[in-house]
């Protein structure tokens, strides 16, 4: 498999001097689903914002499908990396669902029937056919999350990055989302605190702490390593059966 994402030596500090990313390396193969785990403040969201050039690195490089991120490739990288933000209300800003899903394709220069086809395609991928004329404000949390995903799928990205995709979802909404993500062919980087969700959806996980990758491996194995989890303020939910993990990692 070819690498769809290559991050090497990425460092970033906020203007106040606070260093968030420190010489971070990360690779993702095309079609791979990877969970990005780590405590609050580890730099997960900051990393995500670098992947399509919202933040620009102080040092290091990012390549998407072999294309180096710089001023000239920014538009192309933003098409290839679809960012789904944590609060769907930040992502859905147009008056109707159809216009929101069409916003990205319109910025890519598509119009008319071609754009409408993209919107229909993306809505059907998330099981939201017929949502087009509705106002994003009147959707439920789970529906908003799915439409937010559709807004980036409409740009036909190579890599989908989701920030806390399960936050605020009820158990049914969470299960619908995991089914949906597992059914997509796109490479996915899912930033989450929801360890069972990571286990369910992502065969591989990466733990980021203090701006660096501290562990990278099979999700079930990482989650079975209680010392590793404890060292980075990660915890499995109460009542979660660890033997379930050993069974999964052996399989």
């Amino acid at each position: 498999m070819t690498d769809i994402l290559e991050v090497s030596g990425l460092s970033f500090a906020y203007p106040n001097g606070h260093a968030v990313l420190d010489d971070l390396d990360l690779r993702l193969a095309s079609g791979e689903r990877v969970a990005l785990l780590g405590p609050n403040g580890a730099g997960k969201t900051t990393l995500a914002l670098h992947l399509n050039g919202i933040h620009r690195a102080d040092a290091g490089s990012i390549r998407v499908a072999g294309i180096e991120l710089d001023d000239d490739t920014l538009t192309e990288i933003r098409r290839r990396v679809g960012m789904v933000f944590q609060d769907a209300d930040d992502q859905l800003f147009m008056p109707t669902v159809a216009e929101d899903v069409g916003f990205g394709p319109a910025n890519l220069g598509l119009s008319g029937a071609e754009r409408d086809a993209r919107v229909a395609e993306a809505l059907s991928m998330v099981g939201a056919e017929g949502f087009g004329p509705r106002s994003p404000h009147h959707l439920s949390g789970g529906e908003k999350r799915r439409i937010a995903l559709a807004t980036v799928l409409a740009m036909r990205p190579d890599l989908v990055v989701m920030d806390e995709p399960t936050s605020g979802l009820d158990p049914a909404g969470r299960r619908e989302l995991s089914d949906l993500l597992a059914g997509l062919d796109h490479a996915q980087l899912l930033i989450t605190h929801d360890l069972p969700f990571a286990l369910e959806v992502c065969p591989r996980s990466v733990i980021v702490s203090q701006g660096r990758v501290v562990a990278d491996g099979v999700t079930a194995e990482l989650l079975a390593d209680t010392e590793l989890l404890a060292a980075h303020r990660l915890e499995l939910p109460f009542g979660f059966d660890p033997s379930f993990l050993t069974g999964r990692s052996a399989a």
Binding site: I54, F93, P95, F103, G112, H137, H138
Partner: protein, 253 residues
């Protein structure tokens, strides 16, 4: 999610007014209100004509008289002052039920009242038959700058979100014993307005990041290339054309 419905004035329907293109309706409403505004107040017959036209509009839109009257209540706070005019106006006086009232003042009240009611009815018909995104699209087709229509549509989109946030802040204050009943308790309200400003600003930054992430380069894309048909304009022109002839009649007599 209920908060989102409070600013949604649109009444779904399939009336002739609903089916007319939004830009034609916008121009019709504007011309009608303009005709009413320039009509001299003593031309009572012209106002009777306008009232008939407004009633025709309401009936044709199928939004119902009760809903129209309920929504008209929003103008009450704005016209209350007009009822003081007969008491404070100078000049000749007229005896009304034992009160010596200023004739000039009475005409003033009549002027404000009729024009406000006719203007508000027009906007009620417009808002009830046209969803906000359509109104924005109509304004765009009337060549309003994309920046302005962008601001309007963002305001509409986030009004509910921000109102809900304000509601949660209020609930949090009440839950900790705040009871804003007296003026000197207004301080927390003022500081929460500051907090709301900061929160809205931060949301603005996040929305902007989300727009950039999807390739936004400073211009809002257009989503509708359809234009109003000649039949739309003809249909919409009927009532404002009659109103303009009434206004001209009033101005020339």
């Amino acid at each position: 999610m209920g908060a989102g419905h409070t600013h949604d004035l649109h009444v779904p329907g399939d009336s002739i007014v609903h089916r007319t293109a939004p830009e034609a309706k916008l121009v019709a409403a504007f011309v009608f209100v303009l005709a009413v505004a320039v009509t001299p107040r003593r031309e009572v017959w012209a106002f009777a004509g306008y009232a008939v036209l407004a009633v025709v509009w309401v009936v044709a839109s199928g939004i119902g008289p009760r809903r129209t009257i309920t929504r008209l209540a929003v103008i009450l706070p704005f016209i209350t002052f007009a009822f003081f005019l007969p008491f404070i106006g100078g000049g000749d006086t007229t005896d009304v039920a034992g009160f010596e009232l200023s004739t000039e003042g009475l005409w003033g009240t009549w002027n404000v009242l009729t024009k406000a009611v006719l203007g508000a009815t027009t906007s009620i018909v417009l808002a009830s038959t046209t969803p906000v995104p359509e109104i924005v699209r109509g304004l765009e087709r009337l060549r309003m700058p994309r920046l302005v229509t962008g601001i309007i549509s963002f305001m509409f989109r986030y009004l509910g979100v921000i109102t809900a946030e304000l509601g949660r802040m209020r609930t949090a204050m009440i839950a900790r014993g705040h009871d804003p009943r007296w003026l000197w308790q207004a301080k927390p309200i003022a500081s929460s307005a500051g907090a709301m400003f900061v929160r809205s600003y931060e949301r603005g930054e996040r929305v902007h990041a989300a727009m950039l992430a999807r390739g936004f380069r400073g211009t809002m894309p257009t989503f509708d290339d359809r234009r109003a048909e000649p039949t739309d304009w003809l249909r919409a022109a009927l009532i404002p054309a009659l109103a303009v002839s009434l206004a001209l009649g009033g101005l020339l007599t």
